[in-house]
Chain length 214, copies 4
């Protein structure tokens, strides 16, 4: 079970969260990873935690100003990247281009999407995983696995129908270990988390509680 903590642009200490994540990772069968801001990638990766980028652009080396290059993200220590997060929506052709860039740089990929239809579309592009995030649940603290379990199951079916070997993650409202277990029971192979860990007073305790029931 992949537990990916998106640090967004929260005012947290990325090194403290990364260190806690690495330590808890050693105590559990879950695979814990952290996605910091681009400027923090190198220092987060140096903690030894599995490190992900929040975004890469559909570009190559060259004349691109203010963009995230997959090769740079990879050299900074990231092993994967989120794409098309609800806070960074991309055009269809650019998701495809960013996936190509990520593959070129040996980055794993998770494409986020709103609903089962979009999950099927994202899966057809051949990422390693997709994450379903119903917009109405983002930031509510109500997990999609509880508020709308059909969405998770339908997303799993849509990803399977795309005929590629694409994992499904659950990406909205996860905050407790029970939510993680419920997501797994619906067919999800991972969860996306953000404020529940990144803004916790004690990120390590928050993570321990999350993975404890696994």
């Amino acid at each position: 079970m992949l537990v990916l903590i998106n640090l967004k642009t929260y005012p947290c200490d990325p090194i403290a969260v990364a260190t806690a994540a690495r330590e808890v990772d050693e105590t559990t069968t879950a695979r814990i990873a952290v996605a910091p801001q681009a400027a923090h990638l190198e220092r987060v990766a140096e903690t030894g935690v599995e490190t992900w980028a929040q975004h890469v652009d559909p570009i190559e080396h060259g004349s691109n100003t203010g963009h995230a290059l997959a090769e740079t993200v990879s050299e900074a220590g990231a092993v994967g990247t989120l794409l098309n997060h609800s806070e960074r929506r991309l055009r269809l052709a650019d998701i495809d281009g960013s996936l190509e860039a990520a593959r070129r740089a040996d980055l794993e990929t998770i494409v986020c999407a709103n609903n089962p239809a979009q999950i099927g579309a994202a899966a057809a592009l051949g990422p390693d995983a997709v994450a379903v995030e119903p917009p109405k649940l983002i930031g509510t603290g109500t997990p999609v696995s509880q508020a709308d379990p059909d969405v998770v199951e339908d997303a799993v079916d849509a990803a399977a129908a795309a005929g590629e070997d694409v994992s499904v993650l659950c990406g909205a409202g996860i905050s407790t270990g029970e939510d993680v277990v419920a997501a797994r029971e619906l067919g999800a192979e991972g969860v996306l988390l953000a404020s529940g860990v990144a803004k916790a007073d004690d990120p390590r305790a928050a993570l321990e509680a999350l993975v404890e029931p696994l």
Copy 2:
């Protein structure tokens, strides 16, 4: 076989092209349609030709300025709409939203895309059809069915794999009747055309030549 003529913002007389298209439509088994600019929809529809919009936005009635509402396009006489044309790329979530808007207004839908992977993604969203337009062929006069027949066949396979009943159109470089026949033989159920008819000195003759071999 659907022959859809995209008038883009060419300096052509949309009524003259529409009238020619309606007249040629009566002489052939092909289904001929015209996609004018939004401001020309009503007058083009009044010629009796099958009329399509070039784009609709992922919106409903309400506070939206400078957008194309599916209901308005439908009331103006359009029976369908292009979406995600290479000159009007959309975010994945907005293709989904525009498809929802089009269905609400009973518009047929054709989603354009660059390559078989994106065609598979577009087809997973459940449009009536998809159109494959390799960027390197757009505007070249070299038809995709000739320059790169595998792209058309792969697009047909990708659309079929999406498990929905989605037709595939061929959308780049079509300019002769042979191109249309070749597209059909590769599995396409229609073609997108633009300058070959819209900028022809005699649009009626250009259309007649296109559909003659069918």
Copy 3:
């Protein structure tokens, strides 16, 4: 005093509002105009009312799908266009390009912006007018001239400082004749209106009440 009614994508009858606007225009010193959706431009212009587009794109005749061409808007009967409305924000370079397109087609231009700094920037591009719309007041029914009169005066100063002859319009929360008078007293030479007229049970009565104090 210009009173421009933006019909957005409201479910109103654009011809009924246009006809009412034309009739009330004949009874007042105010200049009343209507900005319908693109597909309604021709029929609205045929009522004889002063007609505006809601948007034009920074393009010329050519290969552009799903865009609004200034020449087409003009031939449809529009005499001007809004640009950069808060519901259709543009990149700086595209406001410049759209202004160039509008000038080429002899369209008057109103560039919308959020605050006095952006109004100064918009005015520096040389439109005919700018419209200040503080985002927090849009749709509130509280006129900017009342909630935040300094914004209007600062916008008038910023437009004057741009050294071009650029009028300032007041564009948020206007719903009564007193609001229009207050806007004029702060230096505005016009107002942007939307739901107050477009969604009124009796658009003609709503307009008469608006211009009565002028």
Copy 4:
């Protein structure tokens, strides 16, 4: 005279260029700075060179994925940021928002623009500097100060007319010391450079040649 080297996403060694820039900076009255990719900001700043970001987003701390936060850029060691580069065009409202974010984090700002009208608009938003980059000259090796000296002078006038104390930089085609001197003589207080240094076999020699005539 500010000489700002934009490393874009070139396949150069950012530390080598930064070290060369710091060393040459000590030998000249010019002020030399380097703008690396976000993931390289910390290591570039550690070389002691003046470090700039290529972009920051119009956001605050919070729920933003895949964005560049001004505070993070500043903490990583940057003292300023480019905005609205021709390869990263922004909406007018977002240039204003990004400037506000940069001021909040005590970052200097340079807003790029295409032509004198846009330079006037950019200057009206109150950045520290603007950079004029005629699109037709970008990447040509022909300096704007030579191909079109009026553009530089008109940009200086437009920035002055905005009534703020805004410097003007010359941002296209600069590759020799003569170009830098010519830009200065036209009123520019700095230059933007990219491939001429970043892709040079010997970045230090390239920089020395650039600042030698100053």
